[in-house]
Symmetry: C2
Subunit: 218 residues, 2 copies
DNA sequence: ATTATTAATTAGGCATACCAAATTTAATAA
DNA sequence: TTATTAAATTTGGTATGCCTAATTAATAAT
């Protein structure tokens, strides 16, 4: 199996098992990998043989310790590159994801460690995601999705789940950036829209948008 | 055809047509690409269809303007990355080639231009090779191989043809680095070894080594 | 000019990573 | 419990990029 293929599978299994539940289904994984479920079945069987995952057919998949370690290596590479591109080269937070998607497959740990050092060993990337350290240790915070926040409470934006350019450009337009404070005024009963105050301005946010903003209760 | 495959073919055709002659043979190209001649025949037919090369069977191959442009893009990427790794991240000149071999396939011109700018738009990489500019324009110098240098003349080292770690470590050990001045004392008749003086020390150099050192007559 | 020799091509094959269509398995609702 | 629906798997197939072995073409040597 090509190294890049392995890495893309493991990375996405990792993200799915963090974001949703421990056991990952083929259908979701197929969507993330942009391939058909039939191909995923095949790929997972190989990754199982390679001891990267435990794949029980028609049930689900989870990472082995070996697989998790490699997954975290890729996540680290990705987030270090994103941080580097934004901080050192002046790319926008909406541009870095795509480039890092390629750079994360460069096989050289010394390179990543040098970049990390140059950046002062950052713990968060430009999207607010925690960067695993060299050993794969990653900060675990109990931030929540804005979509599950309660009215009248105040929150601080800590990150985003969607990294696409369109989404990030949208957030920027409304000044909904990492670190910003916001208060939930009310929740629209009809469609679950949030009416929030941020930067002294009222903004209405769709449930889909709220679902991709990560906040911390203040 | 995968982009990386295309790029590796074109890059190597470019290097062979500069170093040797305009028309490149399959056998040499196979060696450079580390694949068998039979596979090269197949690859070249495809590159011909894609208009990157003009391939005349059993005769040879040359780049089209389109192909040359892409080849120079790859060469630029490679050399910018090498310079970046050496100058900004402190990698040794013997380490950078391998890493750049991967990095050169990252598809983002803005990235390369930002790196170039950060470095002050360098014209030479750590091995003394000229870096093409954004338009593909590359400095053409008439340096010569040390192996074709004449006794009693003095030269300045301007570059190397082989970029392998072993070779570069060897040169470093003898202080035969870019910029160093040397004088050819004599040429051994028996095996064409060169007896040279560099940094006030006499060094004996094999023809193979001399063939991979590029010098300028002083 | 004929013969070696070396290079290039053809023919037939293999592994990877994907696919669509048909089928099976599991989960959910009636 | 059975019917319905959704997810996962199997089967058979494709394109890519390589390979070896056999053959043909070009080059060099006698």
């Amino acid at each position: 199996m090509r190294q890049e293929t392995i890495e893309n599978y493991l990375k996405n299994i990792y993200h799915l098992s963090i974001g949703n539940k421990a056991i990952v289904g083929n259908f979701q994984l197929a969507e993330k990998l942009n391939i058909r479920p039939a191909s995923v079945t095949e790929g997972l069987r190989k990754l199982h043989d390679l001891k990267y995952v435990i794949y029980e057919k028609s049930y689900g998949t989870r990472l082995t310790p070996i697989g998790a370690k490699l997954a975290l290596t890729i996540v680290r590479r990705h987030r270090i590159w994103e941080t580097y591109l934004a901080k050192e080269l002046g790319f926008g937070w909406d541009e870095v994801h795509e480039i890092a998607e390629e750079l994360e497959h460069i096989q050289n740990d010394k390179l990543i460690n040098k970049l990390s050092e140059l950046l002062g060993n950052p713990v968060y990337d430009p999207h607010g995601d925690p960067i695993p350290d060299e050993k794969g240790k990653i900060k675990k915070e109990n931030f929540i999705n804005l979509s599950s926040a309660k009215p009248k409470n105040s929150y601080k934006i800590r990150g985003v789940s969607d990294h696409s350019t369109v989404f990030l450009k949208y957030l920027e337009k409304h000044r909904l950036i990492i670190g910003a404070h916001l208060k939930i005024d009310s929740i629209e009963e009809f469609d679950q829209s949030l009416i929030i105050t941020c930067n002294k301005k009222e903004v209405i946010i769709s449930p889909k948008v709220a679902d991709n903003i990560i906040v911390e209760l203040l």
